[in-house]
């Protein structure tokens, strides 16, 4: 089982951002959430690791189940959110590296806090840095790296906890088109390792390169949901016209 979401809704004040969202993602797929800005795709992604709390619905992810429909106790939810986030990593548009820590310290911080021996954390960090092609940057400050390099460090940081699921929130939106390919390579390589990935983007070209499954949102609804074949053969007029513009 990968991710199963049923009837999720979310409102910010009087604005209904997500309306009755249901989908399921099998383990190991790389799913792209596509849509114009304001469609609710980032909010949906942030619910998958509980950075946003849904108002309604149920969610099964990384072998944990959540039911938001009968209200919830915040303290209990916070605890569960912490446990969930150790299994569901996240990569942000603005990388969000901690600027006052070296690349290596950015990587080992969370695992060490959570009880991994420091030596083991360091050797794992070095492995991951090699995997994203940044072995020689372990001691560098984040500010000395290019955007593409910072994003790869952020991916390595998210991988330190060996997550079952990795979420990407517009990972290439702040990058040069030429640099985007660095991130494409890493995501492709990860999809072969069997990790479940969910990527929010509005860049169709980037989406085509990485997706094995696509979900298209418009105005808080899922309009189209299917395999990557849907890029070639869209089922709805709305998705067809989104792909064309």
């Amino acid at each position: 089982m990968g991710i199963v979401v049923e009837s999720l809704s979310k409102a910010f004040g009087s604005t209904q951002v997500l309306k009755d969202i249901s989908f399921s993602i099998p383990r190991g797929e790389t799913t792209v959430l596509l849509g114009a800005s304001g469609a609710g795709k980032s909010t949906l992604l942030r619910m998958l690791n509980l950075l946003e709390t849904p108002d309604q619905g149920t969610m099964k992810i990384a072998d944990m189940s959540f039911n938001f429909s009968n209200g919830h106790d915040n303290k209990h939810l916070n605890k569960q959110a912490c446990a969930l986030r150790r299994k569901v990593g996240m990569v942000f548009q603005q990388y969000n590296l901690w600027p006052h820590m070296t690349v290596l310290d950015n990587l080992i911080e969370a695992p060490v806090v959570q009880g991994m021996p420091k030596k083991q954390a360091i050797s794992k960090a070095k492995e991951l840095l090699e995997r994203v092609g940044l072995s020689e940057k372990a001691e560098a400050w984040p500010s000395s790296l290019s955007g593409g390099q910072q994003q790869r460090v952020a991916i390595a940081r998210a991988l330190m906890l060996s997550p079952d699921v990795l979420l990407f929130d517009e990972p290439t939106a702040a990058l040069d088109p030429a640099i985007t390919n660095q991130v494409v390579e890493v995501i492709k390589e990860l999809s072969q390792s069997g990790i479940t990935q969910v990527v929010v983007t509005h860049e169709v070209e980037f989406a085509r390169k990485i997706a094995s499954k696509v979900i298209y949102l418009e105005d808080g609804h899922i309009v189209e949901d299917g395999s990557s074949d849907h890029f070639a053969h869209p089922q709805t007029e709305a998705f067809r016209s989104y792909l064309e513009h």
Binding site: N78, R85, R86, N96, P99, H100, A110, W141
Partner: protein, 226 residues
């Protein structure tokens, strides 16, 4: 200003140096500990305590340091009940009262400074910490505070210098610090210009040394931002 009078005054003034330095470091250290505590209370929003901290900041940044020193030193003598408590030996001691006033004053300003630095750390850094499964208090103490304190260091350096200069007010409650000896020497010699110029030069030297130390720490602590 005659060289021979310099030779005569300097050893007199330097007798007060130790008190000035002790008062500075004790106040800074106590103020820093309090400021850290206050900052945590404000950042984690502990409700009733938060209001107390805000009141403390209002009172101690809103009134002159000299009034705070006077009230802390002369105030408790008006309440005989206090004289029977275990605090009396401390509260009747000018050194302790001056230290307490300076520490509370510095804590109020430092808390504002630290809180400002924490608020300036981007929300993304908080989210990144939460997203790797840290709790809010782990995120605050392990990621956000260490970053914020580095950012606050240049401003905190100024605060240290203000406290050091503020210790000169302690002479008004009979404490014999650098300023206390200068005032006594002035009363004895009426050589006002020389005595206070010399005292001023000693404070200036202390400020210079403190600035150099802070600069050195800044270079290490802010290396990441270059």
């Amino acid at each position: 200003m005659m060289p021979e009078s310099l030779q005569e005054y300097l050893p007199q003034l330097l007798k007060g140096l130790q008190t000035t330095l002790e008062l500075t470091f004790a106040s800074l250290l106590t103020g820093l500990v309090l400021a850290l505590l206050f900052t945590l209370i404000l950042s984690l929003r502990f409700k009733p305590l938060e209001w107390l901290v805000r009141l403390q900041i209002l009172l101690f940044t809103g009134t002159p340091l000299l009034i705070q020193i006077f009230l802390i030193y002369y105030g408790p003598t008006q309440f005989p009940i206090l004289q029977e408590t275990v605090f009396w030996p401390l509260l009747s001691e000018p050194w302790f009262c001056a230290m307490l006033a300076l520490a509370l004053n510095s804590a109020a300003y430092s808390t504002q400074l630290f809180k400002g630095a924490i608020d300036a750390v981007s929300a993304g850094e908080w989210e990144a910490a939460l997203a790797v499964g840290m709790t809010r208090s782990q995120s605050l103490t392990r990621i956000i505070l260490p970053h914020a304190f580095r950012r606050a260091l240049p401003a905190y350096g100024n605060e240290m210098i203000l406290v050091m200069k503020g210790t000169s007010l302690a002479s008004t409650i009979t404490l014999m610090d650098l300023m206390g000896y200068a005032a006594r020497l002035n009363a004895q010699t009426y050589d006002t210009l020389t005595v206070f110029t010399l005292a001023g030069l000693i404070y200036l030297t202390l400020t210079g040394i403190l600035t150099l130390i802070v600069r050195f720490i800044e270079r290490k602590a802010l290396a990441f931002s270059n």
